[in-house]
């Protein structure tokens, strides 16, 4: 194919670099600097897709971010990405793209039958039609809708690309590099401010690239290039193209998506594909420009109908003609600029101007060039299916209500200009209450809520001179406030053609007897008639009309449709537009890829992984790991073909008969120092702490103020004013915050300091009847006898040259110790324990065996201390001091907490001594009772008791105190199990606690 619509010597593309690409399987050529859209138009391709609802043919409407039609599925370097705007995608060698919304293909689309059935597809169609008959939904409606509707297809493959996040601070963030952005950035930068200038497109300059103006004796384009070149050299300025600031959040935080590699065939090594910038700016200058509005007329969605500014951009930037027989339909002077560009390049346009007798320099120039201009004329309807072939045009009365005789003229494109809508999305997101500007029929920013100023066209200012003047001034003044410098730059001389006012005309009436579809929202196929129906059916709020008709809800978020929708509602409702109000602008302004939002925190990087110093030993010894919060802990050590159940049983059994060692490094550890340390402990724990001797440990329970158990653990008095607290793995961070809260805010008079030492100590629990023998071997010079180191005793020892802390505490119910050494020595300690333990048949055990051991001895843990239970429920009431007050004590006398039949922890054994009880099952009295069967309690933890060799569970049971010996049923509807059980004491092993003291 030849690029038959490409002009010679016009445009900013690089003609030395020809690129080949494929669209819907066909090969075409374009140039470096093209977008996919400009390259396709150069090749005469205008049919790129199908619309969402009626599957009508779709071409190109814009040339950038506002594009509602040209959405494609992109293929790049073996990956695919849906919903890419062809007007934004830069061309690269080997690019492949396909249409979306078409089935089986773009030229013959089954869904287009909707177009002929459109009487059945009015506003609210989906809500109404598919309600009945119900049985049709799954078999008929849903599969049909799924196949026929929907945009592109997301890849289900792992995304190999890298996305990054960056945090940045600056004095001024400027969003858009058109005249206002460049002028304000330049003035602020010259005054010493730290500036970030963001441009969505690949080229800087905005409208300066396409308008015929002169700034300081240079063309707009040359002036923009000069400013950018100078800004790039300044150390206080960051200039970013391909970067869209899409969200304005609280406290002047904005988020920008930078497309680093999307324009390349392949991402460069070590480069990210995209980068998300979180920018905290002292001041934000919104210079996002404006988007041309369409005028609504019959069949205005036909391919070839497009914005006149887009036609001009394709011509001036890409050297591409959108048609060779153009019709310009305008209500203002902008359409003339496009017409003049056509004329200058040897193409004869026809201008239809809705105005009767406009007089301005631009109109005069068009007249002088001999362009055919018809005043008080409108396009009634476009004709042609896959591209415009002709247009019905007519004269319109002065009151814009009546059409004259309709005539048909040939044309191959219709370039529409309905004046300009400021891009106020960012201003509105910042909390700015926008106001309606009658002069331009559009909303503009009102009073700022954050440090934000909107400039130029985005603020409704459409003359270059005015825009540059105010932007230089604002850039200077805002920077002066921040830098206290006063370097003013001289204002350049500006030459631009004067224009005259626009015509407040936006919708062409239907000619008698015709029922053309007149579209407002081009992506979601919302027509004038749909809004009329919605209003007839009683929808009034613009937010409701939007949701019912889906106006402005497509991926373009109504950038070209919202205002015309508002005009229509206000006309029908006989209200002025500001009273109808606009719908809320929400971030993101343009779609942002999920990859960019997620950044590098994917998969195993989604959270940090904490490993104990002994981790590599565990790995080498076949540990199977489990996530415990962010920690990785050995769940069991696999021997041969063992499964979890077999291995954990072996490990637990070995603790009960010989000796085991468990890595307990993950336990939270808090160092507590100060003369008032004991006082603090006495207040945060429920039991007494004032008389704990040096060298002794004590078990303690902490409550929240509402009486619920928060955590448990042991705390040891190391020296006079020095304590070592342990917490559960899960609660470590919360408990530290809890202590800091009381020390800083409630009892600042206490002279105590707390600090986390979780990562400073490696811990090993040595448990089992042979643990003392092992300990003696490890510490030959220490007296670790029952007298020398009694239960809950503490001593320091020398572990082959490494100093260690030895605690005689037990979680397993066996004679047990915990040895701590500095983290760096953790692996050394572990290897010494394993080595010395060989003669005592030591085996390492994981969290599963640890659970088994604690469950069968009735030691409550996380599954019972679940944020819903009080000390009584856990049989911890013996630890509640009657003599002193403590956190949460006052709550414990509340009625519900002292009820006679209050829930309590119990043991549960299946009657057949065989069936395992699923955790989370419910306990009921009668398994056949009608539903809902009254629930008496729930199973909190289950294990296979190695002591009794049968299943055993802990449960929180109503009136548990009086239920011992009762026969109940465990029910698990999820696992479809009903198990007859007996309630027993929660202390299933060594109920008197003799072993730990032996």
């Amino acid at each position: 194919m030849t690029q038959s619509f490409r002009l010679e010597n016009v445009g900013l593309i690089n003609r030395d670099k020809k690129l080949s690409f494929k669209f819907n399987g066909k090969t075409y050529y374009g140039f470096e600097g093209d977008t996919l859209a400009s390259a396709l138009i150069a090749n005469g391709v205008h049919l790129v897709g199908r619309s969402f609802k009626y599957h009508r043919p779709r071409g190109f409407f814009g040339a950038g971010v506002d594009e509602p039609y040209a959405i494609v599925q992109l293929y790049r370097n073996g990956e695919t990405e849906p919903n890419i705007k062809a007007t934004e995608q830069e061309l690269f060698e080997g690019l492949e793209a396909t249409s979306v919304n078409c089935w089986p293909n773009v030229n013959f689309d089954i869904g287009a039958i909707n177009n002929f059935l459109k009487i059945f597809l009015p506003a609210g169609f989906y809500y109404k039609t598919f309600m009945w008959p119900k049985s049709f939904w799954f078999k008929v409606y849903e599969p049909f809708i799924r196949k026929a509707a929907g945009l592109g297809v997301a890849s289900i493959k792992h995304d190999k690309e890298r996305y990054e996040h960056k945090y940045e601070y600056c004095d001024l963030l400027i969003t858009g590099s058109g005249p206002s952005g460049l002028a304000s950035a330049y003035a602020a930068a010259k005054n010493g401010a730290r500036v970030i200038l963001a441009e969505d497109k690949s080229r800087f300059g905005g409208t300066l690239l396409t308008s015929e103006v002169n700034i300081g004796n240079k063309s707009g384009k040359e002036w923009a290039e000069g400013i950018i070149a100078e800004l790039r050299e300044m150390p206080n300025v960051t200039v970013k193209n391909r970067s869209q600031v899409f969200g304005y959040y609280d406290h002047n935080m904005l988020v920008m998506s930078e497309r680093i590699s999307d324009h390349l065939p392949k991402t460069k090594k070590f480069h990210p594909k995209q980068r998300l910038w979180y920018i905290r700016a002292k001041e934000v200058l919104i210079s996002s420009g404006s988007i041309e509005r369409p005028i609504v007329f019959g069949n205005n969605d036909t391919p070839g109908v497009m914005l006149s500014s887009a036609a001009k951009e394709y011509l001036k930037v890409y050297g591409v003609l959108v048609g060779k027989n153009p019709l310009i339909f305008t209500n203002n002077d902008s359409g003339y600029e496009t017409a003049i560009e056509f004329k200058k390049n040897g193409v004869d346009p026809v201008i239809l101007d809705t105005r009767k007798d406009p007089r301005s320099e631009i109109v005069d120039e068009a007249k002088n060039l001999g362009i055919n201009i018809k005043f008080s004329y409108v396009v009634v309807a476009a004709h042609g299916y896959k591209k415009v072939k002709s247009a019905d045009i007519a004269k319109i009365s002065d009151d814009k209500e009546k059409l004259g005789v309709v005539e048909n003229i040939r044309c191959d494109c219709i370039c529409v200009s309905g004046f300009w809508t400021p891009t106020i999305h960012l201003a509105s997101q910042s909390g700015n209450k926008t106001k309606f500007n009658e002069d331009i029929d559009a909303f503009v920013p009102g009073i700022s809520k954050q440090n934000e100023t909107t400039l130029g066209a985005a603020n409704g200012s459409y003359t270059l001179n005015e825009t540059l003047k105010s932007s230089f001034k604002t850039g200077h003044e805002l920077s002066k406030k921040i830098t206290n410098k006063d370097n003013e730059i001289s204002f350049p001389n500006v030459i631009e053609k004067k224009s005259t006012s626009h015509d407040k005309f936006w919708c062409v009436p239907l000619p008698q007897g015709k029922n053309y579809k007149r579209f407002l929202d081009f992506q979601n196929d919302v027509a004038v008639s749909d809004i009329e129906i919605a209003l007839k059916e009683g929808y009034r709020s613009i937010e409701h009309v939007k949701r019912y008709t889906t106006l402005g809800m497509a991926t373009d978020q109504g950038k070209t449709s919202n205002l015309n929708g508002l005009q229509l509602v206000s006309k029908i409702e006989n209200k002025v537009v500001p009273n109808v109000g606009h719908t809320t602008f929400r971030p993101p302004y343009t779609p942002v890829s999920i990859g960019a939002i997620v950044g590098r925190e994917v998969g195993k990087y989604s959270k940090p992984t904490r490993k104990s110093p002994m981790h590599s030993w565990h790995e080498k010894n076949n540990a199977v790991f489990v996530d415990a919060g962010v920690w990785l802990r050995p769940r069991y050590y696999k021997q041969g073909n063992e499964n979890l159940f077999e291995a954990s049983k072996r490990e637990a059994k070995n603790v009960r008969t010989n000796v085991g060692v468990c890595d307990v490094t993950t336990l939270g550890k808090i160092d507590i120092k100060g003369p008032d340390a004991a006082k603090l402990l006495n207040r945060v724990y429920t039991n007494a702490w004032l008389k704990l001797p040096i060298g002794k440990a004590r078990y303690g329970v902490m409550l929240r103020e509402d009486g619920i158990v928060m955590d448990d653990g042991t705390t040891t008095r190391i020296s006079e004013n020095h304590y070592h607290m342990t917490t559960t793995t899960a609660q470590a961070a919360n408990i530290l915050s809890h202590l800091e809260y009381y020390l800083q805010l409630v009892w600042p008079e206490l002279n105590v300091n707390v600090v986390s030492t979780t990562e400073q100590w490696a811990g090993a629990a040595i448990a089992g009847p042979r643990s003392r023998d092992l300990l003696q071997k490890l510490f030959p010079n220490s007296d670790v006898s029952n007298e020398g180191l009694p239960f809950m005793g503490y001593m320091e020892g020398d572990l082959f040259g490494v100093s260690a802390r030895i605690f005689r505490i037990s979680f397993s119910g066996e004679l047990a110790y915990e040895v701590n050494v500095e983290s760096d020595n953790g692996n050394f300690m572990w290897e010494k324990i394993i080595e010395a333990g060989q003669e005592f048949k030591i085996q390492p055990y994981g969290t599963e065996a640890l659970s088994t051991l604690r469950i069968e001895m009735g030691h409550v843990a996380g599954s019972e201390l679940d944020g819903r239970t009080i000390p009584y429920d856990n049989s911890l009431e013996g630890l509640l001091s009657k003599k002193k007050d403590f956190i949460g004590k006052r709550s414990l006398i509340r009625k519900a907490f002292t009820a006679e039949d209050r829930q309590k922890v119990v043991g549960v054994v299946p009657l057949d001594k065989k069936t395992s009880i699923p955790e989370g099952s419910h306990l009921v009295k009668d398994s056949n009772a009608p539903l809902p069967n009254p629930k008496l309690g729930y199973i909190s933890a289950s294990c296979w008791s190695v002591e009794h060799d049968n299943p055993f569970s802990l449960a929180i049971l109503k009136d548990g105190k009086n239920m011992i010996g009762e026969k109940l049923f465990v029910m698990s509807p999820l696992k479809n199990k009903v198990i007859p059980v007996e309630i027993v004491s929660s202390h299933y092993v060594d109920p008197k606690g003799e072993r730990v003291r032996s």
Partner: protein
């Protein structure tokens, strides 16, 4: 994301802090008799104010200090921040 001035560290982003609720609540003194109603008010009852509100935040990924922040709950505007030992005026 809010931008909060830690009185110890300076302006920091919200993701360095954790929220701690109403700063005007005073814990009843230890060991003192207190009615059920007063205790309930301390533990449970909070006004969900629209507008200016003194609240606690902890600079958890910074200096770990609890601070008092005066924030408008509807606009997120922050008017003042105080150290734990400074009284709300």
């Amino acid at each position: 994301m809010l931008h909060i001035k830690c009185p110890h560290c300076g302006m920091r982003s919200q993701n360095e802090f954790s929220y701690g609720g109403d700063a005007s609540i005073k814990r009843p003194e230890l060991g003192k008799e207190i009615s059920d109603q007063d205790w309930d008010n301390f533990v449970y009852n909070r006004k969900s104010l629209r507008g200016k509100h003194w609240e606690l935040w902890q600079h958890i990924s910074g200096c770990r200090q609890w601070i008092k922040v005066e924030r408008d709950t509807s606009t997120h505007e922050i008017f003042n921040t105080l150290k734990a030992n400074e009284d709300i005026s």
